[in-house]
Symmetry: D3
Subunit: 321 residues, 6 copies
Amino acid sequence: MTSLVCTNRSPIGRYNSSCRFQEIYSMLLRTFRSTIPAVKRMYSQIAAYDKYTTLKVTAPSEYVCHVELNRPDSLNSMNKQFFTDLRQCFEQISSDSSIRCVMLSGAGRFFTSGLDLKDAALLTSDQPDVGRKGLALLRGSITPFQESISSLEKCSKPVVCAIHSGCVGGGVDLVTAGDIRLATSDAYFQIKEIDIGLAADIGTLQRFQKVIGNDSIFRELAYTCRKLFADEAFKIGLISSIFVNKEEMMKFALETCTIIASKSPIAIQTSKKSINYSRDHSVKEGLEHVAAWNMTMLQSEDLIKAVMAAVNKEKPVFSKL
Amino acid sequence: MTSLVCTNRSPIGRYNSSCRFQEIYSMLLRTFRSTIPAVKRMYSQIAAYDKYTTLKVTAPSEYVCHVELNRPDSLNSMNKQFFTDLRQCFEQISSDSSIRCVMLSGAGRFFTSGLDLKDAALLTSDQPDVGRKGLALLRGSITPFQESISSLEKCSKPVVCAIHSGCVGGGVDLVTAGDIRLATSDAYFQIKEIDIGLAADIGTLQRFQKVIGNDSIFRELAYTCRKLFADEAFKIGLISSIFVNKEEMMKFALETCTIIASKSPIAIQTSKKSINYSRDHSVKEGLEHVAAWNMTMLQSEDLIKAVMAAVNKEKPVFSKL
Amino acid sequence: MTSLVCTNRSPIGRYNSSCRFQEIYSMLLRTFRSTIPAVKRMYSQIAAYDKYTTLKVTAPSEYVCHVELNRPDSLNSMNKQFFTDLRQCFEQISSDSSIRCVMLSGAGRFFTSGLDLKDAALLTSDQPDVGRKGLALLRGSITPFQESISSLEKCSKPVVCAIHSGCVGGGVDLVTAGDIRLATSDAYFQIKEIDIGLAADIGTLQRFQKVIGNDSIFRELAYTCRKLFADEAFKIGLISSIFVNKEEMMKFALETCTIIASKSPIAIQTSKKSINYSRDHSVKEGLEHVAAWNMTMLQSEDLIKAVMAAVNKEKPVFSKL
Amino acid sequence: MTSLVCTNRSPIGRYNSSCRFQEIYSMLLRTFRSTIPAVKRMYSQIAAYDKYTTLKVTAPSEYVCHVELNRPDSLNSMNKQFFTDLRQCFEQISSDSSIRCVMLSGAGRFFTSGLDLKDAALLTSDQPDVGRKGLALLRGSITPFQESISSLEKCSKPVVCAIHSGCVGGGVDLVTAGDIRLATSDAYFQIKEIDIGLAADIGTLQRFQKVIGNDSIFRELAYTCRKLFADEAFKIGLISSIFVNKEEMMKFALETCTIIASKSPIAIQTSKKSINYSRDHSVKEGLEHVAAWNMTMLQSEDLIKAVMAAVNKEKPVFSKL
Amino acid sequence: MTSLVCTNRSPIGRYNSSCRFQEIYSMLLRTFRSTIPAVKRMYSQIAAYDKYTTLKVTAPSEYVCHVELNRPDSLNSMNKQFFTDLRQCFEQISSDSSIRCVMLSGAGRFFTSGLDLKDAALLTSDQPDVGRKGLALLRGSITPFQESISSLEKCSKPVVCAIHSGCVGGGVDLVTAGDIRLATSDAYFQIKEIDIGLAADIGTLQRFQKVIGNDSIFRELAYTCRKLFADEAFKIGLISSIFVNKEEMMKFALETCTIIASKSPIAIQTSKKSINYSRDHSVKEGLEHVAAWNMTMLQSEDLIKAVMAAVNKEKPVFSKL
Amino acid sequence: MTSLVCTNRSPIGRYNSSCRFQEIYSMLLRTFRSTIPAVKRMYSQIAAYDKYTTLKVTAPSEYVCHVELNRPDSLNSMNKQFFTDLRQCFEQISSDSSIRCVMLSGAGRFFTSGLDLKDAALLTSDQPDVGRKGLALLRGSITPFQESISSLEKCSKPVVCAIHSGCVGGGVDLVTAGDIRLATSDAYFQIKEIDIGLAADIGTLQRFQKVIGNDSIFRELAYTCRKLFADEAFKIGLISSIFVNKEEMMKFALETCTIIASKSPIAIQTSKKSINYSRDHSVKEGLEHVAAWNMTMLQSEDLIKAVMAAVNKEKPVFSKL
């Protein structure tokens, strides 16, 4: 299968045009045989993020942070502590001017097996009354879990999700709240909630159809709980690229994050804000929204720095944000 | 072409991973060479649904009903009676606790040729005044036809559309209101309204762009009235799967429906509700909506039954709904 | 590669069904070896559109007009005059009953290199006060540029964009406001704004995600500023067709426009109105909107003319609009 | 208090300008001492509306119908039959071209005491499961009751509510769905739901704040369940006029209905449609909506008839609608 | 009635607190017996606004302009020229930095009699086809007239409407698009459109219910076409103040405009923008909108100037805007 | 003026019907000459709320808490600490099951003088770049202040604001986020922001027009910064009642709170949720929202308890919430 392997699209500019017509093959499998040494996970954890027991946060390159789901022994299943950590971590990142882009992945064998069903606190309540129990579920679980997942979307910096192996149940809620999704060729996704007797209520049913363009397959996935493998996930637009193994994926993810982190933070953060807003509004309202923001942002020094750097063919250095 | 044929995605778990990299071929053609005997159309019509003259309603398996467009001599063209039957039938299904999933197909040579232009009552009015004629069209045709088509969407149970041969004009309005769309390799779709001098006003222009992810091709289809064949329909996301013939498609459709019907009806119906709502609202509003519903639904017995069944590796039995 | 070449989808009806299963190859490359002589650009400019210095407007066939970005020496970069011309031109076309469809392309080597950064008036203001400078930018640049780009969307007639070579920065804002997008195999798109330190504010961030179905790739493009080549643009749904060269593309574009221009203008314009409205509203509101319009439009003579022509197998002749 | 009594505002043109400065007194009390004989309730019931057991429908003048809540022995309390009757009755009126305006009042001692708590079917369900019970309440009570109340709003003809004595609980839901509200000086309103342990869910909490302009008093009424007497109801804008007794109110209501029924039905029904739509949308969307409708309606013969009648000082005669 | 007369609310600070409890009388009639000489209409027309034949534009005080409806011989009826003038005039004012507040009144005996029915071009079309006629009405009359009226709302500066005598039909559309409404005690308003057989389609049905708080009276006015006299208009919130005669009203209007014109134009224009936006959006969206604007505006020099002037008890001088 | 004094509206049922026609006087002035001893402010602070330095929180009666703005020496001006305290306090109350209703007032001479302009941290930022300064203002001041004010609206329990003397600037933002507003006869309101050179951005411009029904006076207040005295505030619907002095007001406020606190907390909290939601959505969406909630809430024990208590004429005792 050697002839199928080519890098049809590379963020570091090695685009080989003769290769383009073979995209049909290469879209199935992104293999890097580059000589860049493998990305080593040697970074020490960032001190300020030490406190999260279910996440590991490191700094693989300047302005990039790497958040790892870090309960490998439980297949990174999502317990109450995880939801609390996740939200606090992304709120901290959102206002941490030493970070401009986030890479999210899972430690161990699995990306995540979804909700930790052993964590009894998740979906129960000791209220005897139906009304009070309903409110307890709403206030104690549903809303805080929704806000935890939404913290990726609300984070002012882009989030690149690198997914390997299984991404099940709550994991789908999680990655659809990110900006960019990558996966290994052995990855699969599973909207699993209906199999445990409930409708997915923390993001999947709300975001999935808005990030892809195939409502028929989305509903089939949601109703049947069948697995969605990486190649079909690529075809329907859930993920941007497929990689032969996790190592290659992490290398590419880091490259992508590093490129994003090198851009004007004013431009990146305003863009993310506008993209999220525009998804949920009419074109006209999206235009008014970005116009209001750009009254300020077009007066930023980043504009001049970026243009000057381009003219002088230098790397621009932007102030903290 | 034998080597192209493989079942890349099967709802009953026979996924052949070595096959996955050939998805690019198999996506064009789903062929089952399984030994499961062909689905025989031997089911007798359900008595309670006898009254519909333009539809045939049978019960191919537990909790599944099969609605067939049943005017084969007129290529299942849609006359006034059809619109009335369709709406009543799906409203009846929606509250019929013996049905949990619906399979929709067309009897005879064609799925449907669209609006029955011989039914003079459809688009005319004997009002001499432009204003009154406008209101007569609105109240006598446009709105009731819209509500008829929308009854698929409003039906609390999922609707799987199995399309063969031609699906023209009003047929496109119809199937885009369903949940899942399957087609045979000889099927084609045609947004035909502009060719008879009018803008499609009962669903196509409103739903088509929301179920696929290719506005450019959608507009080309709408403006030129050209045919969209099954392979391109698959590529742009209008349909989930292609089958070599109608028999294979019906077999797969029934399997899919049977799987859906085996799940918690609380979970399925809440999911459909949330998916429809979320399509038309912002992510935030979609989250609030499903949260309000799950205050009730997380207290349902289905949750416990589903989890218990999973633990005990049994088939759960859910109460009627 | 001869065997890969076939016209899987042709607006003039030569569909070769045996070819369909090869769509997977031909989707990559649309090659016409037809004997139709090449489309010559011999049309003289339409007098009423002489006044636009940055655009060239010709009439290649009945009811079709061709708008060319016409600053080839500056790579059709977009200066202040261009934005003014563009809006006035499309407003003029919108109410010009001799035009029913528009073809948009770029003269010279490039489709467009985007914003003309040499036009100092674009993003600066001599106001010393931050507040007043913000308003000056809003009122002097952002809003008028947005309205200029949106004039394609608001134009009552469909706009077919034929893109060759580079379509950079503001060019992406421009073509996503059109109805149908075609490209040559050497074309590429680039959301370039972040590289000059600003968030795209005249359409790309608002419309791009609504015309395709792959949010992950969209955000990757927006944040990294990488090039999107024609084949990937085809895959994610940004463009409908790829052509081996500009000549073939223009021929196809003209054919498409000619077909659209032959249809009922009442039906076409109502459809465009409804498609734009439905994109920004819920299905229910989209249905109410088209219903209100069709109270009038179903009473138009075009309906009878179209049906009669179909019955008599004649070409219908519609009144001006 | 004789000097306080004057008709500051009369629909039949007897406006006494010297009286205007006494409006402050007369606004409290509309007293007619006119010689017009009292409105006798001698009209026989309209045959087509005989079937409603909880409502009495008569025809007091041309094109006007009078709907009476007609369970005086139960204080017109609202039972399941009432909700069914109400919806069917107003849907029938909506498409009955012999009716152009509706007068709604209550027979007997009370306007209505609200929900009939003795009708056990209203708020209970025999489902043992919380989820199924929730859906049974939604589908069996809440939604059908909401649709029953909303049938006044959806009715294409204006509804004038004439309220005497108590209008409690569901009665407030009912009258806020009407167009115009009149009351006798002894009338009172009471948002009563919280006193029986539930949030009002069939209209009051949704419409009340949109028909008046005093959110502080609205919330006080909703939370405390205190009575709102006619004078304060007048002050905060819930009702348009106060009358010394029911006879005077009915006379005025009938005059108002008769005037409305004498106008162009095209103009009246389009206005009601637009007012309802505009309440729930932005000004811009309201303008687009009425514009789409008036494309048709400005071509109606009613326009010419109305203008001609005005010129010739004749009473216009409009076709049925 | 002398004792009733007091200035309960005066923009120039002469508030007499002992008078407050008599507000109930004085709200009916604002009488100034101040010694300030009557406002003389001696200002010459502003040259740049000479071109409008149906409007007279003068400059009564610094930063204030006075727009007069100026077809007194036709009772300021609104013809096609008027709608064109009005829009152009308010767009000119919107970007004229020498104007900060606008006073709008009518010359002659009447404020305006509404649509000029003698201007045949207004509501007719020579198109023979219903569809084309509909579009001609939409594009030639309805939309341009709507945009003309909406130009008051879109004007970046506040508009104070001073209304005397009759304000009929289109006049109500006009003044409800202004910011502040004042009237003389002999003024009356009349939603007149239904009497000429059409639904008001240029603003009244869309804005009226949003500027007052009494839906019942609004609908009564719309359906019956009865006159609304100044006192009732005051009671329901259509107008802010009533004056004994036009002279007093103009004096007060000019004082109000002068006060507004003395404030920070950044603060005034941002406030008007936010008020208009918030009317049409949820509270949450309104808050996000003003927050985006204030990122810029809080950095304006006006903030410092205003605070410094307050500290130093000086009149602040703001830069042009 | 003794004869004018009567309690036209009393929450404890002493309604004197003969008094009703004097409402016009009494609406100006609510005087209680009841024998109930004056409300003594003897309650000790609730321990759990000790931490707030700018607020004093006491428990005047069962399930009622009293929050006092408690910086009397600074006229309760709003500094950064205040905004932090306010939000935390209302979030704490929202989930404190020992509180069911909140009374908010100001300690000392003034209700509040608004933003504390001496707190330099409020509106400045040390960022040198316009873009970064804008974001710093957004994230450091505007958004947190908005969220602080909105915490009253989001609090699950009703908030009754009792306002005396001046309520200026930020104070208007504050009280319009409450549920019910009462004021003393010497109270006044002042939208003051424009006088310090900025548009009100933490609630007034967004909520004021939605709680009253007089857009003309609202805009006059916003643009001119004039004072709005209690009587006019009452007339336009900003406040529900006026009192002769603060003691009487506090007594009435406490009575109102006590009544609210005696009701079913399920019913009260669901009602507040629905009222807030409905204000910002269409009637149809408001109905769907409350329906989803009542699927749960109608199954609450509160319903039975409330009905039983009514039948048995007992005071119901509801479980904690």
